[in-house]
Symmetry: C2
Subunit: 369 residues, 2 copies
């Protein structure tokens, strides 16, 4: 006997949602579902009791389960959010228990393989997905609904995906605050090979160049730190990702080498290299991910703070008391004896007003944005 999925409450998209694999992404999906009232209840499924305990204690899910079973028939949404290497086995373990009407999606970073696997398993309402969001630090304790907000979330339906499933998946992604982008699995894999997997390999190659020379490590500054940040991710997850997508990655590596060779040749053609540098800056500055991140920096102040305690509090209190709304804040230099804080204000007028208030309160204000 097949139980009906529990009905979604008024306004909610789903009745019972199951998040299988409650890590950074799964946990963030679960939090989004709960905080935005998108499901009547959210069940976290994970093989690790520690993860389940954390997920419950942090209020990430309503209920927890340690393994699949017939309880899964109640779910009308199942999100496969295990690490990529575990997605196939997870799908195989869950498939016999799924309600045929349930929307099933995953969050893996390579799509062709898992899409084919779910087709093989006969999971009908399946829409492979990839939220383009992450964090330097993984695990359910770092999960937050905001991680997914404004993120591009690729949905990669196959020929077998019903259009009704695709529109439900779209609605889910939009309701979580993310931006759905639809394309075939292989198109996705080709694109992420260039924008995600190639950058990882390049970053890893750079770290290997400095690995055996302490003088190189010593001279590595902020630029090198930025370029190698992705090499600091979980090694096994990164390895699995590039191995799974190795064919498109090889093609991207070929194109990258061609670009590098052209730039190397232009070291002898300074005018051409300047044009390339200008084109590169234009391209990079117009990336959606960059435009968004730079937005709140438009009206900046830099405030020097001394070695007295809680200067961050003193700065924000001075402005809060005067009704000036701080939109962004960043500690530029942290030292035992003080540092500098960058404040992002909403308007030029706010920035001017904030500068006036802080100067009046005895702070040194520099760097008008």
């Amino acid at each position: 006997m097949t139980a009906l999925p529990s009905p979604a409450p008024a306004g909610a998209l789903f009745g019972t949602a199951v998040v299988a694999g409650v890590g950074l992404i799964g946990g963030s999906v679960a939090l989004g579902l709960r905080q935005r009232g998108l499901a009547r209840r959210v069940i976290g499924l994970d093989a690790s009791m520690d993860v389940l305990r954390d997920a419950e204690a942090l209020g990430v899910v309503d209920e927890v389960r340690a393994g699949p079973g017939d309880w899964l028939r109640e779910a009308d949404l199942v999100v496969l959010a295990a690490p990529m290497r575990a997605l196939g086995p997870l799908a195989r373990a869950l498939a016999p228990h799924l309600n045929p009407a349930a929307l099933v999606t995953d969050v893996g970073s390579v799509k062709a393989g898992i899409a084919a696997e779910l087709e093989r398993l006969g999971v009908h309402q399946f829409v492979p997905g990839h939220p383009m969001a992450g964090s330097e630090r993984g695990g359910v304790t770092h999960a937050r609904a905001e991680l997914l907000e404004n993120a591009v979330w690729v949905l990669t339906p196959t020929e077998a995906t019903p259009l009704s499933a695709l529109s439900r998946a779209r609605a889910l992604v939009e309701a979580l605050g993310a931006a759905p982008v639809v394309m075939p699995p292989q198109a996705h894999d080709d694109l992420v090979a260039t924008v995600s997997h190639l950058p990882y390999l390049a970053s890893l190659a750079l770290t290997h160049l400095v690995a055996r020379d302490e003088r190189l490590s010593l001279l590595a500054a902020g630029g090198f730190r930025d370029l190698t940040r992705v090499a600091s991710g979980d090694p096994r997850m990164s390895r699995d990702m590039v191995v799974e997508n190795r064919a498109p990655l090889r093609a991207a590596l070929g194109r990258f080498r061609t670009q590098l060779e052209r730039l190397e040749a232009e070291l002898d053609a300074p005018e051409a290299l300047l044009a390339a540098a200008e084109e590169g800056k234009r391209t990079r500055d117009s990336l959606p991910v960059v435009r968004r991140s730079l937005l709140p920096r438009r009206h900046d102040l830099v405030v020097a703070v001394s070695d007295r305690p809680n200067q961050i509090g003193a700065v924000t209190q001075a402005l809060g008391g005067a009704g000036v709304n701080i939109k962004d804040i960043e500690v530029l230099a942290v030292r035992e004896d003080g540092g500098a804080i960058r404040l992002g204000l909403e308007t030029p007028e706010d920035a001017q007003e904030a500068a006036r208030i802080l100067t009046g309160a005895g702070f040194e204000v520099r760097g008008r944005g």
Copy 2:
């Protein structure tokens, strides 16, 4: 008649310091000299009246000059801080007016050329230098003394540099809060080719890969943004830097290609690739520039904030009022209707206490570091 350099006051290292080229780095040096009382007066020399006006208005320098002249004889410290392409002409313009006893240094990012030029000009007390500090945004308005603090500052004496000049330069760098590292000019240039100029070219090549495909731009996420940040720097300055250092850069490109080829081959040897990924992470996480930046992140809290005004102020006020000292703060997600803030606390106890206070004040606290 040669005027004597004006004597340094008690405790100061220099009497009259001249910063020639008052941009981000020159301005930061000038601020450091002033704020730390290292010179009796600091004169800013720049060809741009706008820059001089800003430098004076912001209190970056005591006095300004629009061109070289015999007034330079009073200087016992001259810092050449023009963009790299202007360093040679600047040195030639200043050399006839310099006091032979003055310590002369520069801040260019490639050292062999300017070192040879100053030798040719017969500038005796010359110590080429390169503070490894920068910022996404240049110009005197973003200058701050803190930029140089804890930065590695390479000094590259030549065979002709007197040891007395080197020890004065060392004292200057240390007094500005930076860490002097001494090596020959060519050794410096070889090292920065790998840790700075190669990463720039790699970053530029990546931006060119996405330049003609909007789908690629759309899927470029945080990792791609980090890897291409250096491609957003000033195109002319970046171009000048890599062209000037093209011979060592070509050698570094060769080594980079070898690493990439090895990693590409290991796409078919997953165990070897995992070892490479692990080694890369270890190397990257142990870089001095990374260890420092991660330090304040040890005891973190993530606080969700709602759409009410000035939630940053409310968070810091709650903690400040209770005497909890915030060491670091970062806005993780900025949206019209709220977001999340990461707080860095000094000790686990502080983090616990802060979580207790904020929860009590009605905030949602997640992600225990």
